[in-house]
Symmetry: none
Subunit: 167 residues, 2 copies
DNA sequence: AAACACCGTTCACCACAGCGAAACAGTCGC
DNA sequence: GCGACTGTTTCGCTGTGGTGAACGGTGTTT
């Protein structure tokens, strides 16, 4: 994934956007500025002037973290679910569900919440949600995303990983 | 948490130990060495000679990551027991028990306290609590958490002791 | 020391509810 | 008409919570 270079503190507004979008970013410190407070593991900084190798090394680290760490997908305005450079097209109902799940990526979303977002005027059947979640699951799988069921509580979207559940 | 400073590449052996132990570490690059490949988010590097502010800033970042990366477990509002980036879903009864135990993480919680939290209107059977503690134990194990029994006192939740089978 | 009650662990079993998945059917747009 | 989208039914698996019972360790009583 591409790492965005940000002059700091000059481009502070742009930095906020990048943080919100989750893109990996490298802050380029000019001269005597105080070191920044990093928001997460997808952010790093380096003081200029710097060895070109060092800049490239930090960019490479951020890039690899963005690939393997906690990548947050997003649903664009055309209903495309994008994740790690790839995408799949979603149907309207699936997009509504995906938006809600991505919105709370990594956290549980109740079935009733999902149902209201997908069918504001009332859920057709008790099983309709299950079926659409099933279809969404199959669409998302190639992107390395999965929807985990939390029984009697709802669903949780996360990056596919063989963790957290064994017996 | 204390951040360990490592001269690199001189102290490579020591670095391996630190990586295995999970301690946060800052690599001090001497002169013209090529930048290292970082193993995780608890590792960072800086090229010497460096501004003292910069070293302190990177130490501070690593330290705060170490704090927030290995906190006590927590039970989120959906009944998920989260610990060190992983999670397991708990049933309602288990969640009630886990909340109480996490609340006093590392300290003993009396059986009566647990029973009242799980069944405010009275415990169904004499060994109902035991059975649910057993089930909770098995669910938590993959997270590296365990419940120790303190005879005639209650139970205590803590991180699993290393037992020859770890990852 | 043996017998005993107490406490906790673990297992097997059951009834029930939530959810998964397939298969089918109706609708809409190109 | 074809394919995509959606809704519905049905079947069955699995998680859940409660129960009884067997097992074992511990401290007390006789």
């Amino acid at each position: 994934m591409d790492v965005v270079l940000v002059r700091w503190p000059e481009e502070d507004a742009r930095l906020r956007q990048l943080r919100a979008s989750g893109a990996p970013r490298l802050l380029l410190l000019n001269g005597e500025s105080a070191p920044p407070e990093l928001s997460d593991c997808l952010e790093d900084w380096i003081r200029l002037p710097a060895d070109d190798r060092d800049v490239r090394a930090r960019v490479a680290i951020l890039s690899s973290r963005a690939e393997t760490d906690h990548p947050a997908p997003r649903v664009d305005d055309a209903g495309l679910l994008r994740h790690r450079g790839r995408w799949v097209a979603l149907s309207p109902v699936e997009a509504a569900l995906a938006v809600t799940l991505v919105d709370r990526f990594g956290a549980v979303v109740g079935r009733d919440t999902l149902a209201r977002r997908a069918w504001p005027d009332g859920v057709p059947t008790r099983n309709a949600l299950d079926v659409h979640v099933l279809r969404l699951r199959r669409r998302m799988a190639p992107l390395g995303l999965e929807i985990r069921t939390v029984r009697s509580r709802g669903y949780l979207m996360q990056a596919s990983q063989p963790t957290a559940d064994a017996q």
